[in-house]
């Protein structure tokens, strides 16, 4: 299991990433900082450290899984396919389950 990773950039804020508790029993996804200007870039940075987590969140084509949702600063993202929504440098990205999946 990889250790909790933090990307420190001196003098610059970095987006914060947090995952639903429900994913943790399958694959440990600790809260962490991950650099990027879009949701795709932030997740790519995060999954570089925890590769197995990627397929729990994204489908085979790299889109957000049908019954997952992502919020950036408490706003649900609009682009579930390319994950192109912007992430502020001090933003928070939250990956949670949608109730739609039962």
């Amino acid at each position: 299991m990889p250790s909790v990773f933090l990307i420190f950039v001196i003098g610059k804020a970095v987006p914060h990433v947090r995952f639903t508790d429900n994913i943790q029993r399958h694959v440990k996804c600790p809260a962490a900082e991950a650099q990027g200007e879009t949701v795709r870039e932030v997740l790519t940075a995060y999954f570089a450290e925890i590769p197995f987590a990627k397929n729990y969140v994204l489908d085979d084509q790299g889109a957000l899984r049908k019954h997952m949702v992502i919020f950036v600063n408490s706003q649900q993202i609009a682009d579930r396919v390319k994950l192109s929504d912007s992430v502020p440098s001090d933003g928070t990205v939250e990956i949670i389950q949608a109730l739609s999946g039962g």
């Binding site: 197995f52 397929n55 085979d60 899984r65 997952m68």
Partner: protein, 372 residues
């Protein structure tokens, strides 16, 4: 004689073992997780389980120590869809099938001459091969990109799927697939080319002129006799079919009481004329006829059938046995079947009598003897 049975269920993987006191549940793994398929590899003892985590997608785990511990391995994933790939909308729903794994529906080891090779059938219809015991998977693109594949349609699911894979022990490059709904497919060159060339299957649910089209058939399961490899049985949506020429032609078997409808069939490993079925009322009702659970058995290649009920519930029983939930051991004496209501029965006398192991397991998707 197999003393161990793997049972994949809606809420976990259970191991059933025989001791001096009889059959009982000896181990539970992946509790609360949806286990769609399990495989024991007789070549090296590896166990492989397919999971469906719903929100989090399909995943694969394996054990190299008989189930003492498990590790997640790679799960079959469809490659990036090429921009120039021309989809043909599904003829039944007019929808395009996505390049995403929806269910891990079948797992089978490759031939004895190809250690590490595993085949996986999936919904929505992709066939995957691993050359490294699950470290990586590759989609068979010739089948996936075959225009005829896009005529497949779902039977019971929104998507079509590959539920049966048979690697010919005489030639590992000769493989048969059972597809719901897409018929029986064959490759003789390890998957480079594919044909759907069997004749004789009949789909009553289709317009008359399409009824015998090999590519629209719904074989619920395809099983092969171990010692008579050209002899195969199919429990079809439309009834029971048998082939004695390695799936080149099929003969329909009708007039079987209480019903020819069902999902599961098992064939005796040494006697191609002996096969077992678990019937139900066709086809949208899918409950036992007269609410009595019975197994039907033929010993003469389908000429006659017996109804076997000793030890099985004969009133107010609403158990349905799914396609992967009936199995026979390597001697042909022991059978096991599990049901949607979580009941599990074992027979040690070729079905003459049945012992109930549990009536309160989660819904059962697959039962497989561990054949050493």
């Amino acid at each position: 004689m197999s003393d161990r049975i793997l049972v994949a269920t809606r809420k976990g993987l259970f191991t059933i073992t025989k001791s001096n006191t009889g059959w009982s549940i000896s181990q539970a793994d992946f509790l609360a997780d949806n286990c769609s398929m399990v495989m024991h590899d007789p070549r090296d003892g590896m166990l492989l389980v397919g999971l469906d985590h719903g929100h989090f997608g399909c995943k694969m785990h394996r054990s190299r120590n008989g189930g003492k511990s498990w590790e997640e391995c790679a799960s079959p994933a469809y490659p990036e869809k090429p921009d120039d790939f021309e989809d043909i909308p599904n003829p039944m729903s007019n929808t395009v099938i996505k390049w995403n794994t929806e269910l891990l529906w079948e797992l089978q080891p490759g031939g004895n001459d190809e250690p590490g090779v595993i085949w996986c059938g999936t919904l929505p219809g992709g066939l995957f091969r691993s050359n490294d015991a699950g470290d990586s998977w590759e989609l068979n693109r010739t089948l996936w990109e075959d225009p005829r594949r896009q005529e497949w349609f779902g039977g019971g699911f929104d998507y079509p799927g590959i539920h049966s894979i048979h690697v010919d022990p005489r030639d590992s490059a000769h493989i048969l697939l059972g597809v719901s709904c897409g018929g029986v497919w064959r490759t003789t060159d390890g998957g480079k080319t594919w044909e759907c060339d069997g004749t004789g299957m009949r789909a009553e649910y289709m317009p008359e002129e399409k009824a015998y089209d090999p590519g629209i058939q719904d074989p619920h399961i395809l099983v092969r006799c171990r010692d008579s490899l050209d002899c195969l049985w199919v429990q079809h949506h439309n009834g029971i079919f048998r082939s004695t020429d390695n799936a080149r032609s099929w003969q329909e078997i009708t007039d079987v009481k209480p019903s020819t409808f069902g999902f599961a069939v098992a064939v005796h490993p040494a006697d191609p004329n002996t096969a077992w079925f678990v019937p139900a009322i066709k086809d949208e009702k899918r409950i036992p006829v007269d609410a009595k659970v019975v197994v039907t058995r033929t010993r003469d290649g389908g000429e006659t059938f017996e109804q076997l009920s000793k030890g099985l519930p004969q009133e107010h029983a609403y158990d349905l046995t799914f396609r992967h939930s009936l199995d026979v051991d390597e001697n042909g004496d022991r059978l096991v079947f599990g049901t949607t209501t979580g009941s599990l029965w074992v027979s040690e006398d070729q079905g003459d009598s049945w012992q109930n192991v549990s009536t309160h397991l989660p819904p059962i998707y697959c039962t497989r003897f561990v054949k050493e």
